[in-house]
C-alpha cells in the first residue's frame, strides 16, 4: 500500500483539514492510522463524555488545538441543571501533565473555573487562542490569569458566557510586552471596564482585527479606539447611548470613515438611534451585521441602516424589524446567506403587532437566492408560505422555525403544518439541521424520514401523535447525529425499537415525553457503549430502588455513545443506568 515514505504521506495528509475526512483516512489501514494520528493537530470532540483526556492524548500526542462541547443543546434553555457536568478542569490537568503543546482551546457549554483558567495560563507556553461559548463558572479573575500569563495570546473570544464580573483590572493584566492580540471579545462582561487600559492595549496591538466591547465602553472611548485601530475587520460596539455633543460625534464619524476594512458589526447594546448614521459610510462594506441585542432601535432606523448594506451575507436581527423591514432586506441584501430573527418580546408580555409573520419569511426567500441558513421566531405561519419558501430556496442547509405558541396551526386554514415542513424537506436535499414547531402530527415525521436524507440534527417540541412519529425519523434519517425532543408523545416502543441505532449518533435527548423508567432500564441493559442518564431534579430522592415504579415517566432522558463508560462526576440527581 505504501509506495511513499511516511513523510510524503504525512505531507499529503496536511492538506486534509476537516476532522471528518481525517477520521476517514485513519480507518484505511494501520499505517495510515499511525501517520494520521501522529500528525493530527486539531481535534474536535462533540461530547466531552464520549472519550476521556487520557485516551485523547494517547492517540493524538501532537495535538495543538482542542474543541470540546459539554452540556446538551437544551441546556441553553434551562432544561439542564447547572451542576449536571461538563467540567473542563480534568482535561486541562491531563493536557498539562502530558506536556501537550496546546495552542488553542475552544469550549462550548462547559463549566470553566478560575482555577482551570489559571492552570491553563501557566501550563502551555505557546498558548494562543481561547474561545468560550455559553460557558459558566468563572470570573474576571480567571481572565486576569490568561491576560497576565499567556505571552503569545492572539485570541480571547468570550461569547455569551455567564461571567461573574469582579470589576477588577483584568485588562491591566496584559503586560506591556503583549502586542500579539488579533481578536478580543468581551461583550458579555457586565461590569465596568478600565477604558484607559483598553485603549493602551489596543494601541499596542497592531494586528488587532476583531474587537468586541461590552456595555461599559462609551461613545467617545469608541471613537478613540477606532482611531487607534483603523485596521479593524470586526467591531462590536458597546454602549452607544448618550446623545453625544457634536464634537464627539464628529470625531466618531472621522474615526469610522477611516475603518475601510470593517466587514462585521455587532453590539449596539444600548443605543441612541440618532447615532447610527455615523456608521452609514461603511455599511456598503459590511458582510455581517448583528443587531440582535439592540432592543431599543426601532424598525425604521434599522431599515435605513440595512438599505445601505448591499453586500450583507449574514444578518442577525430582532423581530421588531417587522415584515416591512424584511421586505427591505429582501430587496437590498441579494448576497444574504444566513438570517436570524430573534423575538424581542421573549415573555409574551406585549401584543406586538410589529413582529414578523409568514409574509416576511416568504419575502426573504423570494429576494435572497443564496440563503442557506435561517433561524426564524414568529407568531404565525401557514403551509402555503412554507411551500413557497421551499420552492424559492431549495438550498437550505439549516432551517429552524420557531412559532412562539406551541401547537399553533396554520393560522388561515387551521390545519397542521405537516405539509409545509414536508415541502421544505422534500425540496431542500442538502438539509442538515431542522427545527420544527407549530401544530404537527406523525405525518410530518413520515416526510422527514422519507426525504431528509442528509439530516444530522433535528429538534422537536410539542409535536407528533404516537410512537410512529419518532420511528419514522429513526428509520429514515440515516445520517442523524443529534436528536432532541421535548413535550412530545413518544414512548418506550419508539425508544427501544432499534437500540443499536444510538451508537451511530452522538446523542438523544427526550424530556417530558412518554418514556418510562422501565423502558430506559431495558435500553441501558444491553448497551455498554451508551450512557443512559436520567435527570430528575424535582424528585424527593427515592433511595429505595425496589420501591420504584418502572411505569413512572422519566422527566429527562439524555443518552449518548461513549467509549469510556459511566462518568464519575455526575451530581446526585442524575442517575446513570
Amino acid at each position: 500500500m505504501n509506495y511513499f515514505p511516511d513523510e510524503v504521506i504525512e505531507h499529503v495528509f496536511d492538506f486534509v483539514v476537516s476532522h471528518r475526512d481525517r477520521n476517514s483516512i485513519s480507518l484505511v489501514c494501520k499505517s495510515w492510522h499511525k501517520i494520521e494520528r501522529l500528525s493530527r493537530k486539531e481535534v474536535f470532540i462533540g461530547n466531552c463524555y464520549a472519550i476521556n483526556p487520557e485516551r485523547l492524548i494517547g492517540r493524538f500526542p501532537c495535538l495543538k488545538s482542542l474543541t470540546l462541547k459539554g452540556k446538551p443543546h437544551f441546556a441553553d434553555f434551562n432544561l439542564v441543571p447547572h451542576e449536571w457536568g461538563g467540567f473542563v478542569l480534568p482535561w486541562i490537568e491531563a493536557l498539562a501533565r502530558s506536556r501537550v503543546g496546546l495552542e488553542e482551546l475552544r469550549l462550548k457549554r462547559m463549566v470553566v473555573t478560575d482555577e482551570s483558567l489559571e492552570l491553563l495560563s501557566r501550563s502551555f507556553a505557546n498558548f494562543k487562542s481561547l474561545v468560550l461559548v455559553s460557558c459558566e463558572g468563572f470570573t474576571t479573575d480567571g481572565l486576569a490569569s490568561i491576560a497576565a500569563n499567556c505571552r503569545q495570546l492572539r485570541e480571547l473570544d468570550l461569547q455569551e458566557n455567564e461571567i461573574d464580573d469582579h470589576r477588577g483590572q483584568w485588562l491591566n493584566c496584559f503586560p506591556d510586552s503583549c502586542t500579539t492580540l488579533i481578536s478580543l471579545n468581551f461583550a458579555c462582561l457586565k461590569g465596568e471596564t478600565n477604558v484607559a487600559a483598553l485603549e493602551r492595549l489596543v494601541a499596542r496591538s497592531p494586528n488587532l482585527k476583531s474587537l468586541k466591547l461590552n456595555r461599559a465602553v462609551p461613545l467617545d472611548a469608541l471613537a478613540r479606539l477606532m482611531s487607534c485601530a483603523p485596521q479593524l475587520v470586526d467591531l462590536g460596539v458597546g454602549s452607544y447611548e448618550n446623545e453625544p455633543d457634536p464634537e464627539s460625534f464628529a470625531k466618531l464619524m472621522t474615526a469610522i470613515e477611516k475603518c475601510m476594512s470593517l466587514r462585521s458589526l455587532s453590539g449596539f447594546l444600548e443605543v441612541a438611534p440618532l447615532c447610527l448614521p455615523a456608521f452609514y459610510p461603511i455599511c456598503q462594506n459590511l458582510i455581517s451585521l448583528n443587531l440582535s441585542y439592540a432592543a431599543e432601535i426601532q424598525g425604521n432606523h434599522l431599515i435605513k441602516l440595512i438599505q445601505l448594506c448591499k453586500r450583507l451575507q449574514r444578518l442577525w436581527i430582532l423581530d421588531s424589524i417587522g415584515d416591512k423591514g424584511l421586505a427591505v432586506v429582501a430587496a437590498t441584501c441579494k448576497e444574504l446567506q444566513e438570517l436570524r430573527v430573534f423575538p424581542s418580546d421573549v415573555h409574551g408580555e406585549e401584543d406586538n403587532n410589529a413582529a414578523v409573520t409568514e409574509v416576511g419569511l416568504v419575502a426573504i426567500s423570494a429576494g435572497c437566492p443564496k440563503l442557506h441558513s435561517i433561524l426564524y421566531f414568529c407568531k404565525q405561519m401557514t403551509n402555503a408560505a412554507l411551500i413557497a419558501v421551499a420552492k424559492n430556496c431549495p438550498n437550505f442547509i439549516r432551517f429552524r422555525l420557531c412559532i412562539l405558541e406551541p401547537h399553533k396551526p396554520d393560522h388561515i386554514t387551521s390545519q397542521s403544518l405537516d405539509e409545509g415542513f414536508g415541502a421544505i424537506v422534500q425540496a431542500c436535499k442538502g438539509l442538515r439541521r431542522l427545527s420544527v414547531s407549530g401544530l404537527l402530527t406523525d405525518q410530518v415525521f413520515l416526510y422527514i424520514g422519507m426525504y431528509a436524507e442528509q439530516l444530522e440534527m433535528l429538534s422537536i417540541a410539542f409535536a407528533g401523535d404516537t410512537d410512529k412519529g419518532m420511528l419514522y425519523v429513526l428509520n429514515g434519517c440515516k445520517k442523524m447525529r443529534k436528536l432532541e425532543i421535548r413535550d412530545s408523545p413518544f414512548g418506550n416502543a419508539a425508544l427501544l425499537a432499534d437500540v443499536g441505532r444510538y451508537e451511530t449518533m452522538r446523542s438523544l435527548w427526550m424530556s417530558s415525553c412518554e418514556v418510562t423508567l422501565g423502558g430506559c432500564k431495558r435500553l441501558a441493559q444491553n448497551s455498554p457503549r451508551l450512557n443512559v442518564e436520567i435527570i430528575n431534579e424535582n424528585e424527593n430522592n427515592r433511595m429505595e430502588q425496589n420501591e420504584e415504579d418502572e411505569r413512572e415517566k422519566v422527566d429527562k432522558l439524555y443518552l449518548y455513545r461513549t467509549v469510556v463508560g459511566t462518568r464519575k462526576d455526575a451530581p446526585p440527581y442524575v442517575r446513570i443506568l
Partner: protein
C-alpha cells in the same frame, strides 16, 4: 356556556387533530395536563392574537413553559434588562443622568426630591458644576451648563418649565448640556 363546552369535550370525533378548533383546544389542554410539573400558569389569561381570531373557542391560557421559547438564557437576560430599566412603576423613579463630556452616566431617583431646587442642587454636587439661575422667560443664565430632560415624546426640554409633578411623570432621562449647544437653548430669542 360551560356546559356547552363540556359536552363538546366528551364528544367522540374522528377528525385529525387541528382540523377542528375544539379538537385543537383539547389537545392543548391535555398536553398541559401531562406536564403540569413544568407549566407555571400566570394569574391573568391573555389573548394571544388580537383581531382576526375566531370567537367560538375561548383564548388559550398563556402559560409560561420552562425553556420556551427556545432562546438562550443569556439572550433572555440581556433583552429583559432593557425593559426593566425603562419602568417607572414600583420603588423609586430612577432616571439616567448624563453630562456632556463625562465618561459615564449616573442614575438618580427622582422620587427622592420634592422639587426642582433640591434636584438641581443634587445634580450640581454630583457633577461638580453650577447651573446658574432660572428665569421663566430666558431659561438658565450665568452658567455654561443647562439642565435638560427627555420627555415621553422624545423631545429635549428645559428643566423647570412645567410643574414638578408633571415633570417627574414625563421625564425619561436627564442631560446636562454644555457649550455652544446649551447656549442655543438657554438664550431667549
Amino acid at each position: 356556556m360551560d356546559e356547552f363546552v363540556n359536552l363538546k369535550e366528551t364528544e367522540l370525533r374522528l377528525g385529525l387533530p387541528g382540523t377542528d378548533n375544539v379538537c385543537e383546544a383539547k389537545e392543548r389542554v391535555s398536553c398541559c395536563n401531562n406536564n403540569n410539573k413544568r407549566v407555571l400558569s400566570t394569574d391573568t389569561e391573555k389573548e394571544i392574537e388580537s383581531s382576526s381570531r375566531k370567537t367560538e373557542t375561548s383564548p388559550p391560557r398563556k402559560a409560561q413553559i420552562v425553556g420556551w421559547p427556545p432562546v438562550r438564557s443569556y439572550r433572555k437576560n440581556n433583552i429583559q434588562s432593557k425593559k426593566n430599566e425603562s419602568e417607572h412603576e414600583g420603588q423609586g423613579i430612577y432616571v439616567k443622568v448624563s453630562m456632556d463630556g463625562a465618561p459615564y452616566l449616573r442614575k438618580i431617583d427622582l422620587s427622592c426630591y420634592k422639587g426642582y431646587s433640591e434636584l438641581l442642587k443634587a445634580l450640581e454636587v454630583m457633577f461638580k458644576f453650577s447651573v446658574g439661575e432660572y428665569f421663566e422667560r430666558d431659561g438658565y443664565k450665568g452658567s455654561d451648563f443647562v439642565p435638560t430632560y427627555e420627555d415621553k415624546d422624545g423631545d429635549w426640554m428645559l428643566i423647570g418649565d412645567v410643574p414638578w409633578e408633571m415633570f417627574i411623570c414625563t421625564c425619561k432621562r436627564l442631560r446636562i448640556m454644555k457649550g455652544s449647544e446649551a447656549k442655543g437653548l438657554g438664550c431667549g430669542v
